[in-house]
């Protein structure tokens, strides 16, 4: 049985595409054949993060029009052939895809791959509805900021009315120091408010930008950077491995860290 997972957020720019690219590579490296589908055809980005921007010839649109076969449209990653990219369409597309089209394409991908990851566009309009139509489970990405959490809440409500299950949370761009000083929503604040199980916790990490510049996701070379490790762990958990999540604001040692932990103690 293959698993089709929507990666969405509501608010834009919180890290959906970065997660999709890194997770796709990590799943493939760990032995699961994986396809990533860029459902954001207005603003395509996934090809760029994967370093595949020069290799796209066809999109899902040509496959649907039967002007090419699925195999021709799939772009296989050279270093990690267990991963393929399929763009849903291109910005010059004459006819926009419908939810039916998405279901057809995803149905074809599910025959060939263990994991199908759908990179969802921001917002809750047509782009989101198309991408959600074909999904069975979802990962909601958010940052520990009020606007991102509020938008995530809207999306979770919409996913629940569509019976998408399970819905899991990835908390991105966490800054442990700010959290320890209570100048950033705590991990438990976000998971309590959204009432979702936490699938992963990714720190703010400059290496994300460096890897984006190169078009080589952190998980491609087994990076030991905090974000690289976090993405690899998300993949392990999706594959059913038990990997504990450590709260970084509660982890560090030393007097200052112990003092801020003391200040975080819930007294009533």
């Amino acid at each position: 049985m293959s698993r089709t997972i929507l990666i969405c957020s509501g608010k834009g720019g919180v890290g959906k595409t970065t997660l999709t690219a890194n997770l796709g590579i990590a799943l493939a490296r760990q032995g699961s054949s994986t396809a990533v589908l860029d459902a954001d055809f207005g603003l395509r980005n996934l090809d760029l993060l994967l370093g595949l921007e020069n290799r796209i010839v066809y999109t899902a649109q040509e496959v649907l029009a039967e002007s090419c076969r699925l195999e021709q449209a799939l772009v296989k990653h050279k270093q990690e052939p267990n991963l393929s990219l399929l763009p849903a369409g291109n910005p010059r597309m004459l006819e926009w895809l419908t939810p039916d089209d998405m279901q057809k394409i995803v149905g074809m991908l599910e025959e060939r791959f263990e994991f199908v990851l759908i990179d969802c566009p921001a917002g809750i309009e047509d782009g989101f509805k198309n991408a959600a139509a074909a999904s069975r489970e979802a990962i909601v990405v958010t940052t520990p900021e009020v606007s991102a959490v509020r938008d995530a809440d809207r999306v979770i409500g919409l996913l629940q009315t569509r019976d998408i299950q399970p819905i899991q949370l990835v908390l991105n761009r966490v800054r442990p120091k700010m959290m320890a000083n209570q100048e950033m929503l705590a991990v438990s604040d976000v998971t309590d408010i959204l009432a979702l199980p936490l699938l992963g916790l990714v720190l703010e990490d400059e290496q994300v930008i460096v890897s984006t510049n190169r078009g080589e996701p952190l998980t491609l070379n087994g990076s030991r950077s905090p974000a690289g490790l976090a993405y690899a762990n998300v993949a392990r958990r999706l594959r059913g491995e038990e990997v504990p999540i450590v709260d970084p604001s509660k982890e560090s040692q030393g007097f200052r860290a112990r003092f801020s932990r003391l200040m975080q103690t819930k007294i009533f």
Binding site: R154, I156, Q182, E183, M184, L185, M263, K266, I267
Partner: protein, 99 residues
């Protein structure tokens, strides 16, 4: 409440911004999730008071009607302290809690 919140309050300092963020989110999500705007809520509050006031005398200073949300379930929580019961319920036509 965390120890830091407690000390902040003791010293009259502004609360840590994470605490403020949490409280603001809880409030805004209670409204987002229930799709009730403040006007409707206010109207509901007035009508609830009107009905309850027919049977008991309410301490109007202490009345609190608000939306709360937990585990993605939103509840309308009304806290209406009772001063005393009315010996005989007022007529339904009596308008407003002031009657």
């Amino acid at each position: 409440m965390t120890l830091r919140d407690f000390i902040d309050r003791l010293l009259g300092r502004q609360a840590a911004s994470a605490t403020t963020a949490r409280q603001r989110l809880q409030l805004v999500l209670a409204h987002d999730r229930s799709d009730l705007n403040p006007e409707l809520l206010e109207q509901m509050r007035r009508e609830i008071l009107e009905v309850v006031s027919r049977y008991v005398e309410i301490d109007l200073e202490e009345v609190d009607v608000s939306l709360e949300t937990e585990e993605r379930v939103t509840a309308l929580v009304a806290n209406l302290p009772i001063k005393r019961a009315r010996p005989k319920p007022l007529e339904a036509s009596a308008t407003g809690p002031a009657a």
